[in-house]
């Protein structure tokens, strides 16, 4: 029960090599693209930092939601989402740097003359202005980063307490119940700020849920991948096929949730057929048509069919396959939120689009594995530990 993850030098090398590839791609991007084309580099930086931060944030939400629901099944592999959530503070800093350096290239509304001659943007000025933009960032992301760090600390402290002491569990419940309301507003506000304001004239009330559904199912897929990796390496002996089944159910369910939310947003706009609203899909339908249909195949049809049966959810190889499909599919989903508004028809899948995610994956692997190595892989005094070990479906 005292097993600790060993962050081997091989894994370190892999993550550092990934980081170097990504850094080279980024540097190459700044060299190759100049003038108006530089937007492509900024758009990719925004895409990767928002997407990978969403994964860390989703893992923190996973822990908080399980605490508040008094859930027991995830306790044996609780350190995995915890370690992934430790990546969130790092990625928040990266995103902040990208926004500070790149807001002029990314967001049309940051330019003064654009604001002055545009009555619609002028009406939105009380909300869409740079000081308030960064205040919102600091307020919501700061609060969630603090909650995430506290949740991790409380969980580690629980290990050192006497057996049967639930004071740390109760403290975690309090932190989680502070986390959730902040998170609820955070997902709406940040989706408007970072993604929706790329098209500053357009708005949709479903947008926050849509982007939340996307990164939430991605982080469940990432949790599944890390859990299966640790299991394959011989760690996490108490994790059995029933826990993986639960994760499979969550991937299946939230893929359907994503489809529901996405289709709701699309159908209302399609039905009403108001030009100011349909322009969003007009941009995504012409040049981006294959991707627009592709995400429905990758994020709905394939997970739905591949994970439908009970046996599929209990098979490791099937879960890994579907988790990879989901991660790629939702990366493309975020690509579709960002690219049409920033680079328009000049998009592409080049060295930048492939290389830059490597930078973020490398950093994420490094942070996650080093936080995994810092603490025992199975929490010790969690009151639901035995319930989690006995979990069966």
């Amino acid at each position: 029960m005292n097993e600790t993850f060993n962050f081997t030098s091989r894994l370190k090398t892999i993550s550092i090599v990934l980081m170097l590839i990504g850094a080279a791609a980024l540097a190459g991007g700044f060299v190759v693209y100049s003038g108006d084309e530089i937007n492509r580099v900024w758009a990719n930086l925004l895409l990767d930092s928002v997407f990978f931060m969403g994964i860390g944030m989703g893992a923190a939400f996973f822990i908080a939601a399980v605490y508040l629901a008094w859930g027991g099944f995830s306790v044996v592999f609780k350190r995995v989402p915890e370690a992934i959530s430790q990546w969130m503070p790092v990625s928040a800093i990266i995103l902040l740097l990208v926004l500070i350096a790149g807001h002029g290239n990314l967001y049309h509304w940051t330019h003064h003359d654009a604001m002055e001659h545009d009555p619609i943007l002028k009406g939105k000025q009380p909300y869409l202005n740079l000081p308030f933009f960064f205040v919102r960032f600091a307020f919501f992301v700061g609060a969630l980063v603090i909650c995430t760090i506290l949740l991790r600390k409380t969980s580690l402290k629980e290990d050192t307490m006497a057996a049967g002491d639930t004071s740390m569990y109760k403290r975690s419940l309090v932190i989680a119940s502070v986390f959730i309301p902040f998170f609820a507003v955070y997902i709406l506000v940040t989706a408007w700020d970072w993604l929706m304001s790329l098209d500053p004239h357009w708005y949709s009330t479903m947008y926050g849920w849509y982007s939340f559904a996307s990164f939430w199912v991605t982080s469940i897929a990432v949790i599944t991948l890390f859990t299966i990796y640790l299991k394959k390496q011989g760690y996490l002996k108490e994790v059995n096929v029933n826990h993986l089944h639960n994760l499979g159910i969550m991937m299946f369910a939230f893929s359907i949730f994503w489809t529901y939310v996405t289709f709701c947003q699309f159908m209302l706009i399609w039905y009403a057929n108001i030009p100011e609203e349909t322009i969003y899909f007009q941009h995504r339908y012409g040049h981006y048509k294959p991707l627009f249909y592709g995400i429905f195949v990758l994020n709905f049809v394939l997970p739905f069919l591949l994970l439908m049966s009970r046996d599929a959810k209990r098979s490791m190889s099937r879960l890994v396959l579907v988790a990879c499909i989901i991660i790629v599919g939702h990366f493309i989903d975020f690509y579709l939120m960002i690219m049409p508004a920033t680079v328009g028809d000049n998009n592409g899948f080049g060295f930048l689009e492939i290389g830059l995610p490597c930078l973020f994956i490398g950093m994420m692997l490094y942070v996650v594995f080093s936080s995994l190595a810092k603490a025992p892989l199975v929490p010790k005094n969690h009151p639901f530990l035995q319930e989690s070990i006995n979990n069966s479906l």
């Binding site: 289709f263 699309f266 159908m267 399609w270 039905y271 057929n273 439908m308 049966s309 009970r310 069966s392």
Partner: protein, 178 residues
Amino acid sequence: MRNKFLVGLYSDEDKMIDGVKAMRESHLEVYDVVSPFAVHGLDDALGLNESRLHITGFIYGFSGLAIALSFMTWSFTSDWPLNFGGKPHFSFPAFIPILFEFTVLSASIGMTLTFLLRSGLYPGRIRETLDERTTDDKFAVVFRISKKTTEEEIGKMKEMLQSSGAEEIKERELSRHY
């Protein structure tokens, strides 16, 4: 046709599960277990195959989807084409909510009816109960006694029931779907 059954009644489900496991290990064929609530781990102890009900659910759901899609396509495009706000007659996004609802409806009704039929339940059916206390607080382990069952085997069944903690052992004659 009447069948003979040997019934052992337990009031503790843990003893009952351990008993069932021991009986299956000594190659006795447990016909059924009747319990007032779903007992965790009983399916594994009895060695039951996975239910095939959800496969019928998929078939009903898929048929519902196909029926709804073909009916809407037929009625909106060829039987009675109407102009709704200038949209094409075959407007797939508008069909999706109905497709979803009809799929769920077909799957749920179909599965319910299949389950009832398979369990021998229909309006007017009066079922014999194995023991009325199995609807309250008793767990019954049931063996079927056919013509081939030897006295020796019956003795062994009784002994196993007794040793695993059955409080009451009796023989009953019932129809196959008791």
